[in-house]
Amino acid sequence: MKRLHLVSWLAAALVVAACGSTGGGGSSTNSYSGKTIKIGAILSITGAGGVYGPQSRDGANLAVKQINASGGVNGAQIALTINDDASDKAQSAQVAQKLIQSEQDLALLGPTLSNSAVAVHPLAESLKIPILAVSTTGIHIVPDCNFPATTPCKYVFRDSLGEETAIPTNIKSYAEDGKPKTGVLLVAQDDKFSSDGGTIVQNTVAQYNINLLKTIKFNKAEADLSPYVTQAVQAKPDVIFITSLGGIPAKIMTEARKQGWQGQFLGGNGFNTATVSAQAAGAGKGARSASAWYLGNTFASNKDFVDAYKAEYSKDPDQFSAQGYTAIKILADAAKRANLTFSDVAGDRDKLRTAMESVNIQTPLGPFQFTSTHDVKQTVWVIAMDGAGGFTLVHEIK
């Protein structure tokens, strides 16, 4: 008698469990219930890139938390691992290999720095795993990811607005507003990000009839930039272009103002964080750059993002957090449509890749799509430093 009871209870339990796992009665065509979508992020949490990596991490983690809390991706949970590459190119590549081959991640995010990306992206391409760059904006990301066998690269994407778009947009915008005639370029020649930006400036200025009087190269680890700034100031340009990142833009701007120069600073992505605006303070007021994101942008999904971020981390998000957050949204959307099997990793990676190409979603960056070369198609904001650690909006260019 008891055994019969036990068996029927067991059978009933099994039936209930089976019903439960199909997501609440009825069958959905794309149920990933109980599965895990593994994503690996390679970010610079420590080292020189440690200024940006944590923001990307925080944005991505927030997105993962939100998505998992509201049912995941068709029932699957996202498991995001954050892996520090210590801003070291070699370590970045080694970590990537581990994530791809040992962890069997479905997709990768990062790495933070352009210097590391030129080592990691070709590796990802050759091992056929989709990788989404969340902060690298230099050349050699897409479509040419530095992998000789395939151009355009198939597996490399980026959601971080490239300098090839940002810098010309910024220059064009100021050319219309200020009508400058002359400029001087200050570029850190041993920093890929800065050098790339410098090249873009040089290639763009002629279009807007700005005469580039001088290109002044220096090393990014230089303690003292005054002789370079003096050279720039003595040439009396209308504009000074600064394509560096880290502590350098603020130093240049402060020194130039001290030496009495009154003209316009134009920069690249290196300008777009609050720390740089704060360090430059009054000297940076009015310095312009083109940004992939703006705190006060009026897209609906941005306000939700900003509020959630502030609630979670007690501070404002920045461009890097927005791009990290968006990256997860992109991957989640692609995963939803990709018909993943969760048993054939290689096949899944490929399906994910294909699905990513057709992403079209609302993000804090606005409506987001990839171009045919996996680059970013989005609104660009031209912003100016407000002299007090923040930014004001100058133009919004769709």
Partner: protein
């Protein structure tokens, strides 16, 4: 062109102040204290943190910053140097142990975040920061085509005054005689009743206080404070300065500092901005090859 001359003098002053600490330790102990650049950074970071995160007045923060650097000098002595002396290790060993300590000091600051283990020292992590305008008195004057900034101008008399003071102490005081005796021959000094350990501690304290001060002035004058300001270039430039001026010679360090400043700016103006680093190190290399004792050092005793 004239502004460039001023630039050379200003950066030369910082180099000089930094190098005096370096060369003092070398002169007395025969070792290169490669943690000096970390102390330089530490002084700047602590001072900034005190003003911005702990709300102290700038002058108070400076004094505490210098004192903290001096304490760090004691740490260098007790952790890196004394155990090696006990063991009669060759001077190169001290080079390595100070490199190790420098790594630790930089990492501690780099690690500082709000709420982290070292957050009471520094909260800006790997970021570069500057004193916001108004927190420190730093007026700028324009004289014709030239720009003069109070903090940069102040460095010159400070460096010169310190050099003179140090020179006076070494030449005319009891303590100075003790230091010279230790520099000449520690064993004999001990036999003569000098507390060699204390002399050495004093050397490190003075050297590190100077280093910290140089860091503070650097942070204020150049508007850049981060965990990396010692490591990036200032450290190796310090080496170039003491090589040029003569290792162990304090006047040499000062003159060497200005000399390097002039060489670098000359390179930028005449050869092009990219030449600065290359020329500085080429000068270092050449000086070592042609005249290893530098401008003011004594003749090297041993050469094959």
């Amino acid at each position: 062109m004239d502004q460039q001359l001023l630039n050379a003098i200003f950066i030369g002053s910082i180099y000089a102040l930094f190098a005096v600490g370096y060369t003092l330790v070398f002169g007395v102990l025969d070792i290169l204290n490669l943690a000096h650049s970390a102390v330089f950074m530490f002084g700047a970071a602590i001072t900034y943190s005190l003003v911005i995160n702990h709300g102290q007045a700038f002058w108070v923060a400076c004094i505490v910053g210098i004192a903290a650097s001096a304490v760090l000098g004691l740490v260098i002595e007790h952790v890196c140097l004394r155990p090696l002396r006990r063991r009669r290790a060759p001077p190169i060993a001290a080079l390595i142990s100070t490199v190790g300590l420098a790594l630790i000091i930089v990492a501690v600051i780099e690690q500082g975040q709000k709420g982290s283990l070292f957050g009471w020292l520094w909260v800006d992590g790997a970021n570069s920061v500057a004193f916001p305008a108004g927190t420190i008195p730093n007026p700028t004057w324009h004289v014709g085509d030239l720009t003069l900034e109070a903090s940069k101008v102040a460095v010159i008399p400070i460096s010169v005054a310190l050099m003179l003071a140090l020179g006076y102490v070494i030449r005319y005081t009891q303590v100075g005689r003790g230091l010279r005796a230790v520099a000449e021959n520690p064993r004999a000094a001990r036999l003569l009743g000098l507390d060699v350990d204390r002399m050495i501690s004093l050397t490190l304290v003075i050297s590190s206080a100077l280093g910290g001060l140089a860091g503070i002035l650097f942070g204020v004058a150049l508007g850049d404070i981060s965990p990396y300001i010692g490591r990036d270039n200032v450290e190796v430039r310090g080496l170039a300065v003491i090589v040029l001026g003569g290792m162990g010679s304090i006047p040499g360090a000062v003159i060497g500092g200005y000399l390097l400043g002039l060489i670098e700016v000359f390179a930028v103006v005449v050869l092009g901005s990219g030449a600065r680093g290359g020329v500085a190190f080429a000068a270092l290399f050449l000086m070592l090859v042609l005249r290893p004792q530098g401008l003011f050092g004594a003749q090297l005793r041993e050469k094959i």
